[in-house]
Chain length 103, copies 2
């Protein structure tokens, strides 16, 4: 399995209501995407200085990753909300279970 | 529970052997840290353009996060390896289970 990590920093003017709307939309999207083995997203808890928002998505393989990122659901949330909020985005895909821990 | 996400981009000159050594050191560190509910780290699988390395760590709460990030084990890996490899680091902590999926 593969873990897709994405960390976002917002442009100025993104407020709590935008982030709440985005979080709900992403969670509703995830619930409809069967290729997602697990999906967690949310605004920073503010425990340390850093980015504003994070996403963790677990998929079986590269094909499932493409299906997820290319899905109409993902594209719709990006076009409607996420795309215009992003100042910076850092993403990476790493192997799941590299340390045996089950998230 | 809390998910700590960190995404790294390396400075020039960081090669595969450095990253393999780091990955092993982080996994050995994680195996010794009981506050970690789960821990996954690794080099980018290169499926999409993006950062070079990612870490996902799950802990119970803010105190456990501080215990993890402030642990001698984490500090040792940072001082010996990770610290000098980083060109950019983006991190965030988000709620676990915001979408019910079990990672």
């Amino acid at each position: 399995m593969i873990i897709h990590l994405a960390v976002f920093t917002w442009v100025d003017g993104v407020g709590e209501t935008h982030v709440e709307e985005l979080t709900t939309a992403l969670q509703e999207m995830a619930a409809e995407l069967p290729m997602l083995r697990a999906y967690h997203c949310g605004a920073s808890l503010g425990l340390r200085p850093g980015a504003d928002f994070g996403v963790v998505a677990v998929v079986d393989d590269a094909a499932a990753l493409e299906a997820y990122l290319g899905s109409p659901g993902h594209r719709a949330v990006y076009d409607r909300l996420l795309g215009r909020m992003i100042a910076e985005r850092q993403a990476v895909q790493i192997p799941f279970g590299s340390a045996g821990g089950v998230l």
